[in-house]
């Protein structure tokens, strides 16, 4: 079995599992699936930007924006679930492409810092506009707009599935070569006729829309939002740990990483949860050690093993970097 069929098979299995659990699963399985799907969508969205060379330290900006758009459009305008989510999707896409436009020529660390500043800036705005957002006290979603547990869980599963499909479609098209070229050297990519700004706007619109949609569904799920939850650095941290741990710049990496991250998070909470702060300590250590010792993530480690085992059979087959 080669890597491609394996990947397709794995993708199909994941799709079936996450779409059927909201229907058939027990409450705890549904809860775990919800959190995993949320992280899958965020991780894939983070990875999309990373694969174009754009390091986001501000994914919580999109997440929080989506959450607030949902709360406002439901509470103030009385929009139903799906329409609120479309609104948060649109807001995320607009904010993403807007951020791409204003950060037009920034790369690497400077881009990363701008996204961090954008996220923290939005948090300050959310605190300082209590008339709109409820300020530091937070805002509740009016209970009459809650569409029911099943719809919310299914919505998150669908969001994760569609996100993975989009990422898969992109990896099949020629666009992803453009992104890879931009990641390696944006100047050189431009010389080859790739207009970086156009691609940046596109990828950040998609990535932002996805992360914002996740924030929107999470707002429906939680029913409450305050600036500290909405623009929590934790969102940014987990959405970058998952791809790093699973295998950055790959399709399956963020998915594997998201499952592993949720698992590790739950395991530390169950075994060492009485010690405050221990789960984020573990995440910090994972980040440090995967950068130092597992730069290709779990997926890279596995495919190394795979290659070594089948090295005699197919000496020329190489996993994509």
């Amino acid at each position: 079995m080669n890597t491609r069929t394996f990947g397709l098979l794995l993708g199909a299995v994941v799709l079936i599992v996450i779409l059927s659990i909201p229907v058939f699963g027990s409450p705890s399985a549904v809860d775990i699936t919800f959190r995993t799907c949320s992280l899958i969508a965020l991780a894939v969205s983070w990875n999309l930007m990373a694969s174009a060379g754009l390091i986001s330290l501000g994914h919580s900006a999109f997440f929080g924006l989506g959450g607030y758009v949902v709360i406002l459009s439901a509470n103030l305008l009385g929009m139903p679930f799906w329409i609120s989510l479309i609104a948060s999707l649109a807001a995320g896409a607009l904010f993403g492409s807007g951020l791409a436009l204003i950060t037009g020529r920034l790369r690497g660390i400077y881009f990363a810092i701008t996204t961090l500043a954008a996220s923290e800036g939005l948090r300050v705005i959310a605190v300082m506009l209590p008339a709109l957002t409820g300020g530091a006290k937070g805002a509740f979603l009016d209970a009459k707009y809650y569409p029911g547990t099943f719809t919310v869980n299914m919505g998150m599963s669908l969001a994760a599935a569609v996100t993975c499909l989009i990422a898969w479609r992109m990896s099949q098209s020629r666009i992803h070569y453009a992104f890879r070229a931009m990641r390696a050297n944006e100047g050189a990519a431009q010389m080859l006729g790739i207009y970086p700004l156009k691609f940046r706007c596109a990828i950040m619109a998609v990535s932002g829309a996805v992360a914002s949609l996740v924030g929107g569904i999470e707002a429906f799920h939680g029913g409450y939002l305050d600036p500290a939850i909405a623009f929590d650095l934790h969102i940014t941290i987990t959405s970058q740990i998952a791809p790093i741990l699973g295998g950055i710049y790959t399709l399956s990496g963020p998915i594997i990483g998201a499952v592993a991250t949720v698992f590790i998070g739950d395991a530390t909470r169950l075994s060492l949860g009485h010690i405050e702060g221990v789960s984020l300590l573990v995440f910090g250590l994972i980040l440090v050690f995967s950068i130092l010792y597992l730069p290709q993530g779990i997926r890279g480690g596995l495919s190394d093993l795979w290659r070594r085992r089948s090295a005699t059979a197919e000496p020329t087959k190489m996993a994509k970097p």
């Binding site: 990373a50 390091i55 810092i113 950055i248 995440f283 910090g284 440090v288 950068i291």
Partner: protein
Amino acid sequence: MDLLPQVFSDALLLAGLYTLMAVGLSLGFGVLRIINFAQGEMIMLGAYGAFWGLTLLGVDPIISLPVLVVAGFALGWLIFRGFVAKVLDAPHINQILLTFGLALAIQHIAIILWSGNARSATTAYATESAFVGDVLVVYSRLIAFAIATIMVVALIAWLRWSETGRATRAVAENRAAAALMGIDVDRIYAMSFGVSCALSVATGVVVSFILTITPFMGFPMLIKSIAIVILGGLGSIAGTVIGAFVLAFSETFVSYYVPDGAGWAEGIAFLLIIGILILRPRGILGQTVET
């Protein structure tokens, strides 16, 4: 009563503190070209060091400052040798995420060891103040300003006149050329990382008797330092001083003159970061950089 002299004195004292806070990051960024996201946690560790020195041993933070600075240098040296040295030539993303992970780990070790509760180092001079004319001067802020000034001047003198300082500036300007002139680049890297951590620890000691101490105090200060360094420009200590003054004065003016200003003032750093990166990514006095 006219507010203006009070606003100026507050802003000036804050600017001194901000200079000390950002100058460590500026040195590390200028020499290694890496933004150390764990820098804020060094400030936090310094503040806790001063707090425990005062609470357990009864040592005034000003007395424990030299010891803690040396410890901060050693810790920085170790972090460089153990982690940062391994990603010096790696892509930006690895450097960012590595120091980010270190920051996360250090912060949560602090939470586990000392809990998330807020503490404060209450020295005799922490709450005292005096009127100079119409202007209220809080002693602790004045002391902080004095310490910050001494340390920043010492840093500038070291960079300007000592042999190692000259070597550091050479490495910051051009790593390859410095190596060809016989400078041990690796040692300079470890050294400047250590010094930059030591400066942040010193900042922590100084703020320990001004602000409340929590494990989370580092991150907002890191963001402000980044704003200052970017504003001033990469690799320019003078630029960092200017950046600190700009941030301190704009924050103070906003909190005095804008309704709800104290809250909005917290957002100025972010506004400055975005604004300067879009308009002039090299900062006020910086070298041309690869953006």
